[in-house]
Symmetry: none
Subunit: 215 residues, 4 copies
Amino acid sequence: MSKTKKLPEENSRSEESKTRILLAAADIFSRKGLDGARVDEIAAAAQINKRMIYHYYGSKENLYVEVLRYNYNKIYVLSKGAFVPGDDPRENVRRALRRYFYFLAQDEEFVRLVSWEALNRGRYGSMVLPQLLDLAQSDLGEILQDGINRGIFRPDLDIRQVLLSIHALCLVYFTRREMIQPMWPQDLMSEDMLESRLQHILDFVFNGILKHDKA
Amino acid sequence: MSKTKKLPEENSRSEESKTRILLAAADIFSRKGLDGARVDEIAAAAQINKRMIYHYYGSKENLYVEVLRYNYNKIYVLSKGAFVPGDDPRENVRRALRRYFYFLAQDEEFVRLVSWEALNRGRYGSMVLPQLLDLAQSDLGEILQDGINRGIFRPDLDIRQVLLSIHALCLVYFTRREMIQPMWPQDLMSEDMLESRLQHILDFVFNGILKHDKA
Amino acid sequence: MSKTKKLPEENSRSEESKTRILLAAADIFSRKGLDGARVDEIAAAAQINKRMIYHYYGSKENLYVEVLRYNYNKIYVLSKGAFVPGDDPRENVRRALRRYFYFLAQDEEFVRLVSWEALNRGRYGSMVLPQLLDLAQSDLGEILQDGINRGIFRPDLDIRQVLLSIHALCLVYFTRREMIQPMWPQDLMSEDMLESRLQHILDFVFNGILKHDKA
Amino acid sequence: MSKTKKLPEENSRSEESKTRILLAAADIFSRKGLDGARVDEIAAAAQINKRMIYHYYGSKENLYVEVLRYNYNKIYVLSKGAFVPGDDPRENVRRALRRYFYFLAQDEEFVRLVSWEALNRGRYGSMVLPQLLDLAQSDLGEILQDGINRGIFRPDLDIRQVLLSIHALCLVYFTRREMIQPMWPQDLMSEDMLESRLQHILDFVFNGILKHDKA
DNA sequence: GATGAATGAGATTTCATTCAT
DNA sequence: GATGAATGAAATCTCATTCAT
């Protein structure tokens, strides 16, 4: 139905309106969810007549699906290129994790849309992608395998579990932001705090919490 | 209000209705969220006249808050008693984690309500508890500190970060269930799979992914 | 969905409201058709909140179908009993035709609803009855056959064609009322004019179907 | 309006567009009626910009009236010339009826527009013609009178009633097509079936209006 | 003359809430 | 305490019409 396959960046007035609607909708859906969002609100935010939303997207639900599609595409841009084959697996993990962590840090919209979708049991997202595996789609799986092969990472790892765990360690910081903020005096989104969380994750992933005596 | 008998045991018919509403509401709110749930639906599920919901709870939103309160209380039951002071810190962590993990496994309602609440930025939950920190409320903090003190856990750990990470590792398995299920052939909620995830978490938490040569 | 199978004449307040809606809708749909009618208008005419229409009938379209069902049922009341087996076939025809003609004369609502339905190609009526054959449903078919068997009516008649023709001769007077009124000075619905049309039809029909002995 | 060339032959592009709109509108109005038709649909069918409809016809309603005018004109083409003064009145009736019947058979659009109009109580058609009496406008009235005068048709006929009846006998076959089709195995619009209905009508009409000599 | 985009008014439908009993 | 019926407000969606080019 929609031809906005990649980025909505064609032109002509209509494309621009269509895009304005999509961006406004993405913002509002991400903040309030499908049920909480109001079409009137989206129209106002897009500075366009409500009628146009139906003209371009057919229904509120379909607009939501298009918003998902648009956001899910962001993952593709992110995913590839983190794995540098010759490189130290540890370095590869660091790179991929940093990239993913900061991607989430910078795109709250994405984080929230994915979360709504999880609560909706993938009802709408499944119309867009057979399955969105976030990180799994990226190179991280290959990186881990490479590390195992090269004897750097433990050979008994279940890569799927590790991917899921890494995913969780990054995401939780953003999805629970309001709830954990009171635990720290600084703003969770400040550069320092972000970097500090990332370092914790890397440390955690590599070493766990045990003190490893080496001799 | 005027002449109702005030029996010492007040669990009369009215209390039972009130409870039926709460349980039905908890189920439906957990599945659809505040905005997605319908008062009619709740009344039907509670097998009660819609009017009673307003009689007992005043409004849909307030009913939702009561559902949150009821669920958040479950945490208290869970939290205390995991920390056995003299015990090996590793053993204490294992016990607390297992307890928490299976608590989440057995209470999807809780998991989902907490997740909706996170997306709602704690708007309603904050009416109930100043902050719900799930695990943090439990003994795990103390256990970790005890482990550090006793030289078993690394001294440079930021306990808050660790608590958050452990929380994430457990929760993600349930909140993303539908999305990750395709990665495994077995049912994610089967005993085997649950135990296997728990072991992964324990292993991950204790050791991370690196191969630690010991000599 | 609806339990108003026969006549809507149960009781209790809700049944009464439901009936009021149905009657108001029948009136307005018959005057303006499905597309021309407004739900607001029906609600106002039924002196009820619009919401109730959806509560009882689900949708405008479904309400229309129920109106059709209610009206089509009138035919059954009418249809049976015109055929008196031993009687002169001519007498039987006279009786059945008079009955049908005056039924149409007295129920403009029915006439118009059936006509809208015809223009809609039976789209909605077919949900109610597999086929509404108006007169054909009545005894007239039997009466004609009886007349043929007894040598009063011409043996080469195609009863289906005759039924259709009779149907047309009666109905046209009411469906084209506004258009033909200018041809006569009196009111088409006056007793005199009605009787005069009926006599014309009977005369027309008899001299058409009668076997004319020539000697 | 200011400087447009006023060619003697004005059938330029504009006239052609105007006509295309009219034809598309006639088709759609005839199928769905005034209320059921959509301006968008008409524009799409005419392969023209919607704006042009307003440019040429001012409003949807006015376009409908023009469609009626265009269709009602067809009657004039049909009407005259059926009456051959010297001819046998029976022959004249046969000719006129056949002509009318097949005119209706071939122009469903006309049949349906006239029927919508009847249900609309001539609201729009009356803007076009003070009264449209279909057949009455034709020679049939004269033919009947001629037949009476010459002692072929019964002298007590009310010509208006007969005209109305003949009108009905022809029209009903087309207006109720979908509803009566199930009564016959063949397609109602097949040559055989059409001819068979026409013969029925002629037979029906003649044996009704003919003076039956008994010796 | 022609077009694509846009709109305001109003249609149908939904929903939390309250009335009358 | 409990119920069935009802409602006002607001949501989604539709449509004839007009603007800007």
